[in-house]
């Protein structure tokens, strides 16, 4: 509370980005966790809540006659433009918000003050909702080829960083000395370990960081480690090593004593560069792309030029292309793949998880996607706090790596509308909460399980909101490997995420909501018919107690063009 210089400002205007006529006047309140704008219009209680941890930047513009502008950019891509009547007030709000949106200590994070009405026992259970071990046993592990390694049980190997999970799967033939030796030859100790195993053909996806090869260094244990991975795939006589970086970047790393595998030193590997750009390029690209989204009444050319010059879709394509390469190697060639970049927690996480989505229908279900994020991102040490700027820190560490993964999934959903159990809202909600710090999942701190809530069980409880009505587990589209097209014209701009809050831009009627209402209605009809059958033939009885009127919801905005709610055609008997 000590950071709030001014708890309340009156006569603040909230401008509408598209049409200035629609701006609203109200009171701005600053609380410990939210900034709240309450419109003063009699009869309406219109509130806009902004979570401080979602605030990305606060910009105060030069004072004008009408007041002083305050521009707030949020991490969920909401942009708010307030006009505060007096400059001093604007100044105070500005400073308060800047401080409130950049917590310095973990304890200030929203997840520690977020207290939904859930008792302690239930809260603890939330954290048991996902079990990664169960996912590995779903893959058929451990087996004779892959074993659970005790080597990192107490985070001993991966020091100085403890960025690996305790439970790691390694080739059965990899002995502890080989693992420890390999670990010492890899950036931050991140030795090759299993990410995904295909029980159909024994091919596996492994991940690591770059080797400390410099210009000529070798490590026998590391070479043995890769050989062990190859041996764990009895059907294949070679494996791919995929360096997801552009070749130039990898070469530059050699000067720093890092680098990439020399094909001559490792037996039976095929080495491949993929060329995904680094976190800095991605950060700048997203900034430029968002700039194009925010243009005021842009022409078509302004927007398309902005989109092109941002390079954003090019990067999305690069990530997806890499995922496809790996998925095909595993599913079609039956060849194992070792993936790395520099530290193996950004591009590697993206590419491994995209490959998993392509390969395994399970990861295209609600629970499966959560497991996947938990596995390839959370457990393998993606630096959410840095990348999402949870705490005040180095702005150069911020990068939308996870956004790109979620977008890749969205692009796939656009191409395979029946193959995913979840809808785009699910991805957008996950995105929001990765940044909101409302849940403890994406904050790397030991105390979290004791004090915070888990996003996954929240999503699971509300799964009705996230179900794709077109999904059918038995649909041919749902089965096996997805083979998306990556021709440039197959990539779309994700308006639903990046222009999420520009309501006027979205379709005024949602096919998905319509279908969901239909399915709900169908279910009720099925129940009615079933209860009739229970009573038996000859007696006509229609169970009507649980009958609710289904209003086919619409996303009518501003009351225009919505679907009129449809009364049920059935009258009561």
């Amino acid at each position: 509370m000590e950071h709030i210089r001014l708890p309340k400002v009156e006569n603040v205007r909230l401008l509408d980005r598209v049409s200035p006529r629609r701006s609203r006047v109200g009171t701005l309140y600053l609380t410990a966790t939210h900034t709240i704008f309450v419109e003063n219009k009699t009869g309406v209680r219109n509130e806009t809540w902004v979570l401080h941890s979602l605030v990305c930047s606060v910009e105060k513009q030069a004072a004008a006659a009408s007041g002083c502008s305050l521009l707030i950019h949020c991490k969920n891509f909401q942009v708010l433009h307030f006009v505060v009547p007096r400059e001093q007030e604007c100044h105070d709000v500005h400073l308060s918000l800047q401080r409130l949106s950049q917590p310095e200590r973990h304890t200030e994070l929203y997840c520690f003050s977020y207290k939904p009405n859930v008792d302690e026992k239930e809260r603890c259970q939330e954290w048991d909702f996902l079990d990664l071990k169960a996912d590995y046993s779903r893959m058929g592990l451990p087996n004779s080829l892959w074993k659970l390694s005790p080597v990192n049980q107490h985070y001993k190997v991966s020091e100085p960083t403890d960025s690996y999970p305790a439970d790691l799967f390694v080739p059965a033939s990899a002995t502890p000395p080989v693992i420890v030796g390999s670990s010492k030859f890899r950036s931050r100790g991140r030795f090759p370990t299993l990410s995904y195993y295909s029980k159909e053909n024994h091919a596996a996806i492994c991940r690591s960081s770059q080797p400390l090869s410099g210009f000529s260094a070798r490590c026998l244990e590391d070479e043995q480690m890769l050989e062990a991975i190859l041996r764990s795939n009895p059907c294949s006589d070679f494996m791919y090593v995929v360096d997801t970086r552009p070749k130039l970047n990898a070469i530059a790393n050699r000067a720093a004593g890092k680098g990439y595998e020399n094909e001559d030193n490792y037996s039976n590997i095929k080495f491949q560069f993929i060329g995904i750009e680094n976190i800095h390029v991605m950060r700048n690209s997203q900034q430029k792309m968002l700039g194009a989204c925010e243009l005021r009444s842009p022409s078509m050319s302004d927007f398309l030029e902005g989109l092109e010059s941002s390079g954003w879709l090019k990067h999305i394509k690069a990530v997806l292309d890499a995922g496809i390469f790996i998925a095909k190697a595993v599913a079609e060639e039956g060849v194992s793949v070792l993936v790395h970049c520099s530290d193996g927690w950004d591009r590697t996480a993206q590419v491994c998880s995209v490959a998993c989505v392509l390969l395994d229908p399970y990861y295209r279900t609600l629970r499966g996607l959560m497991v996947l994020i938990e596995k390839d991102w959370v457990s393998f040490g993606h630096k959410f706090s840095h990348r999402c700027n949870h705490l005040v820190g180095d702005p150069k560490e911020v990068s939308p790596i996870i956004d790109q993964f979620l977008e890749c999934v969205w692009q796939l959903m656009e191409q395979f509308p029946c193959a995913f159990e979840f809808n785009a809202r699910f991805l957008i909600t996950i995105h929001s909460h990765i940044y909101s710090c409302q849940y403890g999942n994406f904050i790397d701190l030991k105390l979290l399980r004791e004090r915070t809530h888990s996003l996954w069980s929240y999503l699971w409880k509300n799964q009705a909101d996230y179900i794709n009505p077109l999904y059918r587990p038995d649909h041919s589209q749902t089965q096996g490997l997805l083979r998306p097209s990556t021709a440039p014209y197959c990539f779309k701009f994700w308006r639903g995420l990046y222009n999420r809050f520009d309501q006027g831009m979205h379709p005024r009627q949602s096919v998905e909501d319509y279908l969901r209402a239909i399915r709900e209605e169908t279910q009720q009809l099925e129940e009615q018919l079933a209860s009739h059958k229970q009573v038996g033939p000859g007696v006509v009885y229609i169970h009507d107690k649980n009958y609710r009127k289904v209003r086919r919801s619409s996303q009518a905005i501003g009351g225009r063009g919505g679907i009129q709610s449809k009364e049920k055609p059935i009258e009561s008997p």
């Binding site: 598209v18 842009p298 022409s299 078509m300 050319s301 302004d302 927007f303 398309l304 030029e305 989109l307 092109e308 879709l313 090019k314 394509k317 395979f416 509308p417 029946c418 009505p469 077109l470 649909h475 589209q477 021709a487 440039p488 014209y489 197959c490 990539f491 779309k492 701009f493 308006r495 222009n499 520009d502 006027g504 831009m505 979205h506 379709p507 005024r508 009627q509 949602s510 096919v511 319509y514 279908l515 239909i518 399915r519 209605e521 169908t522 009809l525 099925e526 009615q528 018919l529 006509v540 009885y541 229609i542 225009r560 063009g561 919505g562 679907i563 009129q564 055609p569 059935i570 008997p573």
Partner: protein
């Protein structure tokens, strides 16, 4: 002339046909007067029947004695025929070229086509101006149907019957016609039942450089205004283009002579620019280089989406003037046969729920495009693969369909028809067995006796099995005005036309099918429950014991 003269080699065996997303077919290639046919002569393999009039251009390639002809169609499809033998290949190519560029309308396929289906309703009589006027009469008595153009002498591109203000006589119309480009005097395009406002369309006024005026023209359009009310003139050209038109005898309505009207200029491009835009867009879509930068910059450079945005914006403006401002509107550009019609027809899609039904849309195309004198024959003579310099070709109508698709995407439940219907109309506008889109005006159609000698597309569409196929399963009548978003983020590339042959649509089709299943199953259960309810009600009346206490 006999077609046989043009067909040098009527038949070649051992021809391989390559089509996008379909297995290669080997078989016999036959050329007839109107079709290119490839048949494997086996059961279960689909034959290719391609109308010569659908061929936009061809390209020949030779590798040794194997020749290939790449056939580029007006519906944007590209197919490849591998023909053994150099001479056969050359003969086939020159025959296709000759047959696909026949100028004589009376040789076109619609004059030879005999329907293989039962015509339930003759589409040529489905949308007559007098019937449309009956609907208008039921709403207002301020308009009359004038026969001033019954022999097409006042305006060759207008139909014989046009709706005009009741108290404006035919002499006034004749004089006004001399003051408008192509004789296209202002006529009624749309009557907005909600508030009685109207939309009219015309050709540009012929003011010339010395500011000619025409009292009759002023009287005619002022007759549509309510006392004390102002109207809007939407000129689809920029003020600069409109100024330049004066030098060629055209121009625009000056404030001085039309004080009751506010003029707004928009920037819808003209025909040759649109044609170039289409060519560039299709080239971008066919570029196989797979570089994202290149694709986006080519898409941008084609300007197609810019045209879509501009046309939609202007249509929204017209609709806004009518519905929001409660004002009447006059729309024109230069000739009044292209951008004008795009705007008036799209404004009706926005304003009038009837135009969003299958039949209503056919009526709209009839009224605002065919009878309004859009020169289909000229505009659709060539499509995106044309090698020759465009003369009067322009994708005005395709742009209109694209805009309708954009609105459909934004209001997926408010249209009775599905995307497939729009694609079908696009295909038939460029090449068809039906006579609907032949000719440039009602006068030309009458001269060719099209209604007597050819079948109407609407005769084919308006049969139960076709209607079912073209119906949007999500449709629920929406009586409201629907305002589309014209933000660049909201406007998409029409994949169903422009990427149709470049990417497999299998998964999207499956999703559409799945949607149909969900809705059909729901309807089935509803029917079951309803019939049980009826049974129950019947039992209750028959057996008093069953009635609740």
């Amino acid at each position: 002339m006999e077609f046989a003269e043009l067909i040098k080699t009527p038949r070649v065996d051992g021809v391989a046909l390559h089509r996008p997303f379909m297995p290669t077919v080997e078989g016999t290639l036959c050329l007839t007067g109107h079709h290119l046919i490839l048949s494997s002569r086996q059961d279960n393999t689909e034959e290719l029947w391609l109308l010569h009039s659908n061929i936009d251009s061809i390209e020949k390639r030779f590798v040794g004695s194997l020749g290939s002809i790449i056939v580029k169609c007006k519906d944007l499809r590209m197919i490849q025929l591998d023909i053994p033998g150099m001479e056969e290949c050359l003969n086939i190519a020159s025959s296709i070229e000759a047959l696909s560029t026949l100028d004589l309308l009376s040789l076109m396929y619609p004059f030879f086509y005999r329907p293989m289906f039962e015509v339930i309703e003759d589409g040529w009589n489905s949308f007559l101006p007098e019937d449309a006027f009956k609907d208008l009469e039921s709403m207002t008595d301020e308009w009359r149907l004038s026969e001033v153009n019954k022999d097409f002498s006042v305006c060759p591109s207008y139909p014989p019957l046009v709706a005009v203000p009741k108290y404006v006589d035919d002499d006034t119309l004749k004089k006004a016609a001399t003051f408008r480009h192509g004789g296209r005097f202002p006529v009624l395009s749309y009557y907005h039942k909600k508030n009685g406002m109207v939309m009219m369309r015309a050709g540009q006024p012929l003011t010339g450089t010395n500011g000619r005026r025409c009292k009759e023209d002023e009287k005619l359009i002022n007759a549509t205004l309510r006392p004390g009310k102002r109207g809007y003139i939407i000129d689809t050209r920029t003020i600069n283009v409109a100024q330049q038109a004066k030098a060629r005898g055209g121009g625009f309505e000056s404030e001085a002579n039309y004080p009751q009207w506010r003029r707004i200029h928009k920037a819808i491009e003209r025909s040759n620019i649109l044609q170039e835009s289409l060519i560039k867009l299709v080239e971008a879509c066919n570029d196989q280089s797979h570089s994202m930068d290149r694709w986006l910059s080519k898409l941008e450079a084609s300007n197609w989406q810019t045209h879509v945005k501009e046309i939609l914006t202007t249509a929204c403006l017209a609709a806004q003037c009518i519905d929001r401002e409660g004002a009447s509107v006059l729309v024109h550009g230069t000739e009044g046969t292209d951008s004008t019609l795009q705007v008036t027809s799209l404004a009706q899609i926005i304003l009038d729920p009837a135009c969003r039904t299958i039949r209503g849309f056919q009526g709209l195309v009839e009224r605002e495009w065919l009878q309004a004198g859009h020169p289909f024959q000229q505009r659709c003579a060539q499509s995106a693969y044309s090698n020759s310099k465009p003369r009067q070709e322009a994708p005005s109508f395709l742009l209109f369909l694209d805009c309708v698709w954009q609105i459909l995407r934004q209001f997926p439940c408010s249209f009775e028809f599905s995307e497939g219907f729009l694609v079908l109309v696009f295909e038939h506008a460029y090449a068809s067995q039906f006579g609907t889109f032949l000719g440039n005006s009602t006068a030309e159609r009458a001269k060719l006796s099209l209604p007597e000698k050819t079948v109407s597309l609407w005769s084919w569409v308006n049969r139960p099995q076709e209607l079912e196929r073209l119906t949007n399963p999500l449709y629920e009548a929406n009586s409201l005005v629907i305002w589309p978003s014209v933000a660049p983020q909201s406007l998409l590339l029409w994949e169903g036309v422009f990427l149709r042959w470049n990417r497999s649509s299998k998964c999207l089709d499956e999703a559409y099918e799945e949607m149909g299943h969900i809705i059909a199953y729901n309807k089935e259960l509803q029917n079951k429950v309803n019939s049980l309810r009826r049974q129950l009600a019947q039992l209750e009346t028959e057996d008093p014991l069953l009635q609740s206490p």
